[in-house]
């Protein structure tokens, strides 16, 4: 591992000041960054430990929930308000990694984790535009069974690996940021970039900008929600496909719906088109199938991952059918 300087930030202004140094990186639980440093994929000159900052979960009077970026994944999944009001988020978090890793990993670090594309990790043996801009991509014509069918480019087809983020984008979560130029917030759906010609930039964060919190708006339909993950083994594996869904049905008609997909996109994938198609439709399996097909019509399969297109559609239909009591 390349030598680095370690600094623990005692508050957000200090973290932002330390994070503004050249080649500084913020350190959460380290479950991804430490591994990448060991593989020399990441070689920061300074690590700024921000795990002691923003560790509160605040239930606010307007019904929103403000989650500090330093909250551990386990603590968020186990929080009573999350389990009652946003069960899909609890389920998504405990679908990810292992219990040990969830005890270490922070909310901010989960959002900013890098792809698990094997070529991204293979410093000596593979080309990767995300790791080394302009080098080329060995995944597009290589072993790409795990890769994205949505949002890819001719530069990169790596998936975003998070389960938690799939639930968060379904919930209209926003992310609070602090940089040396001040604070701002944005919808989480706007934080992660599509790779386009610059896959090395996962997000729209400015250099040194720190995630301080996630805000979940009050969303009554989220009390009736779920998360389903399909993977190669039944636990402790990344998603082949996953579905986060919340739905409100009255008199057999879809009043409102939130739908997001994991394992298929280059970023946590909010299924805007399927949602728009479903609103006002009868809550039937036929309508779910039509909406799922519409969302996936834009999919671009590679040599080995075409199965995801059919698999995710079946998963969408199954989750919506389960939530609405339609037998599948």
């Amino acid at each position: 591992m390349t030598p680095f300087t370690f600094a623990r930030a005692s508050d957000v202004p200090e973290a932002v000041r330390l994070g503004a140094q050249p080649q500084a990186k913020f350190l959460g639980g380290g479950t991804n960054l430490v591994d990448l440093m060991r593989e020399a994929v990441e070689q920061p000159a300074t690590l700024v430990d921000v795990t002691g900052l923003s560790t509160a979960i605040e239930e606010r009077a307007d019904g929103s929930l403000l989650v500090g970026a330093g909250v551990k994944n386990t603590a968020l999944a186990a929080h009573p308000a999350v389990r009652e009001r946003y069960p899909l988020l609890s389920r998504a978090i405990v679908a990810g990694a292992s219990a040990q890793i969830r005890n270490m990993a922070t909310v901010g670090g989960n959002i900013l984790q890098r792809t698990r594309c094997a070529y991204f990790y293979d410093l000596d043996g593979a080309r990767c535009n995300k790791r080394t801009p302009g080098q080329g991509c060995d995944a597009i014509d290589g072993f790409n069974r795990m890769h994205a069918v949505l949002g890819g480019s001719t530069s990169c087809v790596a998936t975003h690996p998070s389960d938690m983020c799939v639930a968060l984008v379904a919930l209209d979560a926003s992310v609070h940021l602090q940089g040396s130029d001040g604070a701002r917030s944005m919808p989480l759906t706007d934080l992660h970039r599509l790779p386009e010609d610059h896959p090395e930039r996962d997000t729209v964060l400015a250099p040194g900008e720190l995630i301080t919190a996630i805000e979940l708006p009050p969303l009554p339909l989220a009390a009736h929600s779920s998360y389903r993950k399909v993977r190669d083994r039944s636990s402790y594996a990344f998603a082949l496909v996953s579905v986060a869904a919340a739905i409100d049905v009255r008199d057999g008609v879809v009043q409102d719906v939130r739908l997001a997909l994991g394992g298929v996109g280059t970023r946590p994938w909010r299924a805007w088109q399927a949602e728009a198609e479903l609103r006002g439709q009868p809550a039937t399996e036929a309508a779910f199938r039509t909406a799922a097909a519409l969302e996936m019509a834009q999919a671009q399969p590679l040599r080995e991952n075409g199965f995801k297109i059919a698999l995710v559609q079946r998963a969408i239909v199954a989750v919506l059918a389960q939530l609405t009591g339609e037998t599948s």
């Binding site: 030598p3 479950t31 186990a78 609890s90 292992s98 219990a99 005890n103 270490m104 636990s235």
Partner: protein
């Protein structure tokens, strides 16, 4: 005063080099070789220890990040020379073959029991909002999925953990 970390109840000076993982600190600096280096990348669970009672992977942890925290490794779970009841249960049920994963399995299961008491849900928990979660066979397997056993001693491991925590009170 140098920065310290508590290891099995004793204050220890942290390493000067921030690259030292908590696992290497335990094994190479303190010669506590119970926690094992299986994969060194967070995939196998053999390095599991407890940090303030919560199970973590010591291979992915930088020792300096745990300044002031209380770490318990397998060497610290016995009391006054008496085995932890779960250690005895592993012996009684043959919960190992080669033994390499065993310290991690035991530390992990101790942490798992604390999570159950706190009502932490798992992916197989039917209703994540429920307060009381019983340690069913499926719950145990899911909650212990971060600890691999290459000998395949899972039946004995499950039996040992079930004996100790199968009736965990909320």
């Amino acid at each position: 005063m140098p920065a310290t970390i508590s290891i099995n109840g004793a204050a220890r000076a942290l390493p000067d080099d921030p690259r030292v993982s908590l696992l290497d600190f335990l094994r190479d600096h303190l010669h506590l070789s119970g926690a094992k280096k299986g994969c060194n990348q967070g995939a196998c669970g053999a390095c599991t220890v407890l940090a303030d009672g919560e199970r973590i992977l010591s291979c992915m942890a930088l020792a300096v990040q745990y300044e002031g925290r209380a770490i318990t490794s397998i060497e610290g779970v016995a009391t006054d020379g008496a085995l932890h009841p779960l250690q005895q249960a592993f012996i009684d049920h043959d919960g190992f073959q080669c033994g390499y994963c065993t310290p991690g399995q035991i530390c992990s299961a101790i942490g798992m029991a604390a999570e159950l008491r706190r009502g932490v849900p798992s992916y197989v928990t039917g209703d994540v909002a429920q307060d009381v979660i019983a340690l069913s066979h499926d719950e145990l397997r899911e909650r212990m999925s971060g600890n691999l056993c290459r000998c395949g001693a899972y039946n004995g491991i499950v039996a040992a953990i079930t004996e100790e925590y199968g009736e965990v009170a909320p």
